[in-house]
Symmetry: D3
Subunit: 188 residues, 6 copies
C-alpha cells in the first residue's frame, strides 16, 4: 500500500491537468521523482499552478542573492516553524546546491552555529525575525541589511521568501503532507 502523503484527496492520474502534468514531468526529470507536495496539491490544479508560478520566481537566484542563499532562508524559516516536510526537502536542496552535506545540515538545524559570515547570518536573522515576530520588524533592520551590501531587491526578496515559507510550512503541516523518502539521501 502506498504511504499516505496527505489528509486530503489525491488526484487520480486521469484527472491531472496538462499544466500540472507538465510540472510533474519537469520535476521527474530534474529529481527522478515527483515531489509529494505536487501530488498532494494536484487535486486543486489552478491553485497549484498559481502558487508554483510565484514560488518559482522567488527561488530563482539573482546575481546578488543566489539560489543557494534562497534555500538557506527556506531552511532557517522551516526550522523556526518546525516543518518536517520543508526541512526534509529544502535541507536536501541546500545540501545539493552547497555540495557540502555537513554545512547544509548545520544551517538546517541552527544556522547561527554553522560558521556563516556576517552577511549571510544577518540575512537569516532577518528572515527568522520575519517568521517569528513580524510586527517587531523595523526600518532599521532593512537599513542594516542595505549597509551590509544587499540591494533593496535582495532585502525585499529575503522578506518575501521568508513570508513564502510561512505559507508553505503551514500549508503542508495543516494538510498532512509527508516528504518523499528520496530526499533524505540527496546531496550526501
Amino acid at each position: 500500500m502506498a504511504e499516505q502523503i496527505s489528509w486530503f484527496p489525491i488526484a487520480d492520474d486521469a484527472d491531472i491537468t496538462p499544466e500540472v502534468r507538465a510540472l510533474f514531468e519537469k520535476m521527474q526529470e530534474k529529481l527522478g521523482f515527483v515531489p509529494n507536495v505536487l501530488k498532494a496539491y494536484a487535486w486543486r490544479p489552478e491553485r497549484l499552478i498559481k502558487w508554483r508560478s510565484h514560488y518559482d520566481d522567488l527561488m530563482t537566484g539573482s546575481e546578488t542573492l543566489s539560489a543557494t542563499e534562497r534555500e538557506m532562508i527556506a531552511v532557517a524559516v522551516s526550522m523556526a516553524n518546525g516543518c518536517l516536510y520543508c526541512l526534509t526537502t529544502h535541507g536536501a536542496a541546500l545540501r545539493t546546491r552547497l555540495g557540502d552535506p555537513v554545512l547544509g545540515d548545520r544551517i538546517t538545524f541552527d544556522y547561527r552555529r554553522a560558521g556563516l559570515d556576517p552577511r549571510q547570518t544577518a540575512m537569516l536573522d532577518y528572515a527568522v525575525k520575519v517568521a517569528k515576530t513580524p510586527i517587531a520588524c523595523e526600518q532599521a533592520d532593512v537599513q542594516a541589511l542595505l549597509e551590509l551590501g544587499f540591494t533593496p531587491e535582495d532585502v525585499w526578496d529575503i522578506v518575501e521568501i521568508a513570508a513564502m515559507f510561512n505559507f508553505t510550512n503551514r500549508l503542508v503541516s495543516a494538510t498532512g503532507m509527508i516528504p518523499n523518502a528520496e530526499y533524505n539521501a540527496m546531496g550526501r
Copy 2:
C-alpha cells in the same frame, strides 16, 4: 508630502507595467483608490502579478465557503499576527461584506466573542491553529471540520487562506506598508 507607505522604493508612474496598471485601475474603480499594498509592491511587478493571481483565486467565494467567510479567516489570522495593514484593510472588507460594522469589528478583534455559530467558530479556530501552531495540526482537526459540513475543498481553502495571510501579514509588516486612510471609514 505624501505619507511614507513602505520602507522600499515606490515605482514611478512611468515604470508601472501594463498588467500592474490594469490592476490599479480595477481597484480604483472598485474602491475609489489604489490600495497601498499594490503601490508598494509595484516596483516588483512580476511578483505582484503572480502573488495577486494566487490570492484572488483564494479569496473568491464558493457555494460552500463564501467570500465573507474567507474575509473572516483573513482578519482572524491577522489578529493572531497583530498586522496593522491587514486588520485595517480586511476589517473594512469584512464590515462591507457583512453590512454590519459592529459584527465585523468584533470578529476582527476577537472572533470567539462575536457570537458566531459553531461552524464558523470551528473554521476560525482551525485557521488560528494553522497560524499559531501549525505543526500541532492533526488529521482529527480536518475530520472534525468535515463532520460540521465543510467539504474537503472548503477545509483545504480554510488552510490555504490561513497560510496565505501568514504570507501577507509578514510581507506587509516586514516591508513597512501602511494602509490607505480610506479603509477606516469603509463599511460603517
Copy 3:
C-alpha cells in the same frame, strides 16, 4: 431579546443603588448610553464604585500627560492583551479625543506603526513592557522616560494606567462582557 453582555447576573433596575444610578446617568448624558461594563458590574455596587473612583482619577489628564495620552496607554495595553471590550470602547474614546479616526485606529492596532513621536512611542513601549514582562522592568527604563521630559508623576501614571488596564482587560474578559454597539461608530 437583549444581547447577553455578561456571564454573571445583571442587576434589576430596582436594585441599582443611588451611587451607581448617578454613575449611569452621568454616562448616559456624556455618551448617550450606559456602558455595558457599568451595567454588568452593577450587581456588585460597592466594588463598582470603588474601582470607578480609582479609575476616573487615573484617566484624568494632567498638564504633562493628557487624557488623550492616557487613552493611548489604554489601547496599547488592551491590544497586548487582545481585549475585545477595551479595544472597542477605548478605541472609540481615543478616536474621539484625537478627532482623527485613522490615527486612533492605527494606535489601537499597532502604535509602533502609527507615526507617533519618540516621546509617545517610549511611553507606550514602557506601558506594553509593564503589561507583557513586568518583572523585566528596570530603573533604567524609568530614567529613560524622565530624560525624555516626563515628570516622575507622569512615569508613575504610565505604570499605574498600564497596570489598571491589566486589571480591566482581565475583569471584562473573564466575566464575558460585550461592548455596546454604539462605540463602533463613535469618533468616525
Copy 4:
C-alpha cells in the same frame, strides 16, 4: 542608609496626608511595621487611598470565599507573574492565616502540588487562567466553578481578585518596590 524601596520619590513624613497616616497607623498596629507598598505609594495619596479602598473590599472574606482563599489567589497569580514583592508579602499573609508555613509555602511556589482539594484547585486554575490567557476564558469555566459549589459572587470575586493582582504585581514591579524584611519570618 535606608534600603531603597522604590524608583520613585518617597513622601516626606511632613507630607503624609491624614488619610494615609491613618492607614500607616492601622498597619503599624496590625503588623508592627508599615508595608513598603504604602510608603512608596504615599507620594500619590489620593491614588493610594482609592486603590486601597477597592483592594481592602476585595480581600475581605465572605462566608463562601474565605480571606485565606483570597490570599491563595493572591500568591497563585503572583507566582504566575513572578512578582517578588507580592510573593513575599502575600506568602507571609497566607502562612499566617493558614497557621501552616509548609502548606503556605507550597501553595506559593506551586499550588497544583500542594495537596489542595478539587474545589480550591479549580479556583486557582481559573485565577491563573485569568492571569495568563484572559481572552481564553469561557462561560464554561464559570459554569464549572458554579457546579463545584461556588456562588456567582464567589466566581466573580475569584476573577476580580485575580485581576487585582495583575494590577498590583505590575505596579510594584514597574516602580521597583522591595518588600519589608519583616515579612520573611512571618507565619513561621
Copy 5:
C-alpha cells in the same frame, strides 16, 4: 499515613543498597533527615549513586565560585522552571549558607531585585539564559563573564550547574517528588 512523596514506588527499607544507605546516613547526620529526593530515587540505586556523584562534584565550592554562589544558580534556574521541590530545598540551603534569610528568599524569588553586585547578577543572567533559551547562548556571553573576573572553569561551572538544575527540576517535577517539610524552617 505518610505523605506521598513520589508517583513511583518507594524502596522498602530492606532493599536499600549499602551505597544508598551510606548516602542516607550522611544526609541524616548533616540535615537531621533524609531528603525526599533520595528516598524517591532509591528504588533505582545505581542511577541515584551516579547522578549524586556528578551532582556533588558540581556543587562543591572552589576558591573563585563559592558553594553559596552555586546555590544561587540552583534557585535562579529553579525559579525559571517553577520547580517546587528545588525552590524549597535549595532556597533553604541558600538561606543557611548566606546566614541571611531575607537575602536568600529574595534571590530565590527574583535575583535581579535582590541587590546583588554586577558579577553575581551576570552569573545568574547567564544561568537563566542557559535555562530558558540555550541555543541563544553565544561566545560573547562567555567572554563577558571572563571579563568580569570569572575563570574559564567558573564559567563552565555556571553552565554545567545551570544545565544540572534543568535535569533535576525536570526529574523531580515529572516524578511527583514533594520536599520534606523540614526545609521550610531551615536557615530562618
Copy 6:
C-alpha cells in the same frame, strides 16, 4: 587549522587522564573517531567521567525500553530545544539503530508525523512535556503510560532520559560545542 569545537580550552593530549583516554579509545573503536563532546569536556576530566557514567547507564536498553527507543527520546527532546549538537549526533545514532535513515530523520524532525505507533508516540509526548512544561506533568500522565504497557521503570527512564537531554542540550549549546562532521553520513 582545526575547526573550533568549543568556546572553552581543549585539553592537550598530554593532559588527558587515563580514564578519559580509555573513553576516547572506546569511542574511536566504536565510531572511528572521538566525539567532540568528549574532546571538549576532557579539560574537566572528573566531571566528564561522572556525567558519562550516569549517561551510559541511562542509554543502555532494557527488555521493555530498547536502546533505540532511548535514542528516540534523545532526538525528540533535542528538537524541542533546537540543539544542533544533539540533533546531529543522536540523529545519526537513531538512524543507525533503526537501519532506516528516512524514519530516523522523520522522528528527529517531527516524531508526531513519523508514523509511530501509539505506544511510542505517547512515550515521546511525555518526554517532550517533561522538556517543555515540566511543572504541568501530572500523576495521570504517568498512569496513562503504565496503562499502555510501560513498566514503572520504563516510565521513570523516559523521564530521566528526557531530563538528561535537557542537561546535555544546554551544556553543549552554552559551551559552543560543534558536532564531528562524520555524524552526518552515518546510518545512511
